[in-house]
Amino acid sequence: MDMKTRPLGLLSPNELNAFGSELDQLREQVLADLGQRDADYIRDIVQQQKMCEIVGRTLIHFSLNPLLFAGGIAALSCAKILENMEVGHNVMHGQYDWMNDPTLESQSYEWDTVCDAESWRKTHNFEHHTYTNILGKDRDYGYAVLRLTDDVPWKPYHFVQFINYILLSALFEWGVGLHELEFEKLKQGKVSLKEKIPFLKRFLRKSGRQLSKDYLLFPLLAGPMAPKVLLGNGIANLVRNLWTSTIIFCGHFTAGAETFSEEECENETRGMWYYRQLLGSSNFTGNKWLHIMSGHLSYQIEHHMFPDIPAHRYPEISEQVKVICQKYEIPYNTDRFGKQYLTVLARVARYSLPPADSRWRMAGEKIRSFAGRKIFRFLPEYRPPVIE
């Protein structure tokens, strides 16, 4: 399948360099303009997030009817989502380091999930953002659980990957928290458990802290109402997990998002890196609050090109990126949120089945036609991107 190798070859090296320097210029332009507006924005978000948390926890504790209780859960979920996505994720990318504000400093920030910030900075900021969508190097591509391309050999258990997908979504913070364990490599004996002890210690400390907060401290504070608080906090965490995983999957697993091989990316220039980030990411459109609640990962393309520029700037930047893309005739992958999400589901479903040319062909063929007819009719048909 050379379907994935061609996109990188579309531009000549000179064009790539020009493309890269235009984006670098754009980056400099925005960096030079950072100031009060950005500081006010993030502080405002932090304040709203804290208010949301106060309201949520208060309602969960003291609400006397189910409606208010549900409201409390909604507010706490919002607070957790805002904290994780618009504050934590962005701050840890170093987007606000220029402010010299110790509470918004990338290297010391700790966020409201079981994932240890130190581990996140390593697996996400470094591995995922450097090797985006390179199969075998970007472990975020499918999280070593999902098969999302035919380049990954098919195994019978992939049949049920839709269940895995739902589990991964529901337990997302644990998946992310344990990501650094590299479970698949442990199993193959590529890394030893011993090397992972420092990580495990950090993970246990962080997750212990998280669990004791949501499932011990706050319930105990509520006294006899403890079970209610336990339930409320649990649901809020679940909602947060489902939402964040959905947003993140829409960033790299949509129909148009490309994958790459290690060889393609050797000796990569800056222009090629930008280009790969562009091809491997996808945006979705929506209103202001959808963007904020997704931590502006709705602008995944811009986020991957400029991970350390304050995220609320992405909407403005994206206009210019689109112009540049048009100039070089490069596809810019964006669509409505719902549509992008359906292509993700379609992809998960599609690759739960073996490739047409494998020894599972017969079985696969049958199931595919069955699936095509019955179960997955509501899904848009999955078509791998074709480049002439």
Binding site: K50, D97, M99, S106, Q107, D308
Partner: protein, 411 residues
């Protein structure tokens, strides 16, 4: 213990060892629980503090803030700000300074300012003062002059610094009680010589007030340098003090550079005195050289360095000089390691060459894993192709090439 006892003990040794391991394990997990509990408390405290600060920063339990109570003009370039620190602020010794934090266009800047009031003012009325001189082109000094109003609230730090006068009772007490390192205590009988230039007079005001009230029998001389007569900070207060206090001598020099001859004639017995020096770097270097020529033992000189007059910018933007290839020397203050570079090496490479193992990720400026704190020196950013702005102290080591001398504080 007989050999029989020992052998019996040996029998139990596997069990003992197991128990030992178990004990360590249990203790370890208890420690874990304790730690989790403490962290939890930490989280709650942070949250409380956030809420308190929203109500009024002066209520903060974790940071020190101060409110501006009044503003006075000393000279055309210098203003004195009287501040009331929040209730947790611990007090200070004459001669110490505080860090002051202010925000311009979303960026927080931190600068040090010596406290110019006496500790008694703080003890009696809870007030301190700082005196800020405008530096031409200086960002913060001008900003403070222009924007600070009565009632404003500033984030400040605890009083720090060892530029203190250890001839005072209060300070000897302090020395004994809470200072980790001991500063050589000058003989109590020694006479004192203060030498200052420009805004360097600020810590001396605090010391003089305290000396006058605690030890008026001590002989004190202040030599003060300024560019012009109307730039002499605290001029009126100082001349009044010299009239009231017979043991105090004030010598001012306006529009002159310090010289060996003037120093000799101002204070012929300099070698016998405890000498305190404060001012810009160039001035202090010169003074120390002269002092050495006058046989002043170096351990009797204390100095406070107020900052650098900027280096000639020729190196920085002269066309034709490839900044990548400027020789450099980096000091990592945490480990005390030092390394020389012929140029062109990134800070990350240099750190590794000198045997450190700093954290890093992509090594190409994407992930910020290699971020470290610079304390001083210039850096060339290989991504932007320009010098890193002076104000940016958190730098990415993998794309930073030091230009000239550099100090990095967290490795």
């Amino acid at each position: 213990m007989t050999s029989e006892d020992t052998s019996r003990l040996m029998q139990f040794s596997p069990i003992l060892r197991c128990m030992n391991v178990l004990f360590i394990q249990v203790n370890g997990s208890l420690n874990g629980v304790r730690q989790v509990f403490r962290q939890q408390l930490g989280g709650v405290q942070c949250f409380m503090d956030y809420v308190l600060c929203r109500i009024d920063p002066l209520l903060s339990l974790q940071r020190d803030y101060a409110q501006v109570v009044s503003i006075g003009e000393e000279t055309r370039q210098a203003k004195t700000f009287i501040l009331r620190p929040s209730f947790l602020w611990k007090g200070f010794l004459a001669g110490q300074h505080i860090q002051l934090e202010t925000e311009i266009n979303g960026v927080r800047y931190r600068r040090f300012y010596s406290i110019s009031s006496a500790p008694t003012l703080f003890a009696e009325r809870g007030l301190i003062s700082i005196t800020v001189k405008k530096i031409p082109g200086g960002r913060i000094s001008n900003h403070l002059h222009k924007t600070l109003r009565v009632g404003d609230i500033l984030a400040i730090g605890k009083a720090v610094g060892r530029f203190i006068c250890d001839q005072l009772d209060s300070e000897q007490l302090y020395t004994k009680s809470c200072r980790e390192e001991s500063v050589p205590i000058a003989e109590n009988s020694k006479e004192v010589l203060f030498i200052a230039a420009g805004s360097g007079v600020t810590p001396f005001k605090s010391m003089l007030e305290t000396l006058y009230s605690e030890k008026p029998e001590r002989k004190v001389t202040l030599i003060l340098y300024a560019n012009r007569a109307d730039e002499l900070i605290f001029n009126i207060w100082l001349s009044q003090l010299s009239e009231q206090w017979s043991n105090f001598r004030l010598i001012t020099h306006c529009g002159e550079q310090i010289s060996l001859d003037s120093l000799r004639s101002d204070c012929p017995d300099m070698a016998q005195r405890a000498v305190y020096l404060c001012g810009p770097v160039g001035f202090m270097d010169k003074t120390i050289r002269f002092a050495r020529e006058l046989d002043v033992p170096s351990d009797t000189i204390r100095q406070e360095n107020f900052g650098n007059v900027s280096r000639p910018s020729a190196l920085v933007d002269a066309a034709g000089i490839n900044l990548m290839l400027v020789e450099a020397e980096v000091l990592f203050t945490k480990t005390g390691k030092k390394i020389k570079s012929p140029g062109g090496k990134t800070l990350l490479e240099l750190a590794e060459q000198s045997g450190l193992h700093p954290k890093y990720g992509c090594r190409r400026g994407i992930c910020h894993e290699c971020t470290c704190q610079r304390e001083g020196g210039d850096i060339f950013n290989t991504l932007t192709g320009a010098l890193v702005p002076k104000e940016q102290n958190r730098i990415q080591a993998c794309i930073s090439v030091p230009v000239g001398d550099l100090v990095v504080s967290d490795w």
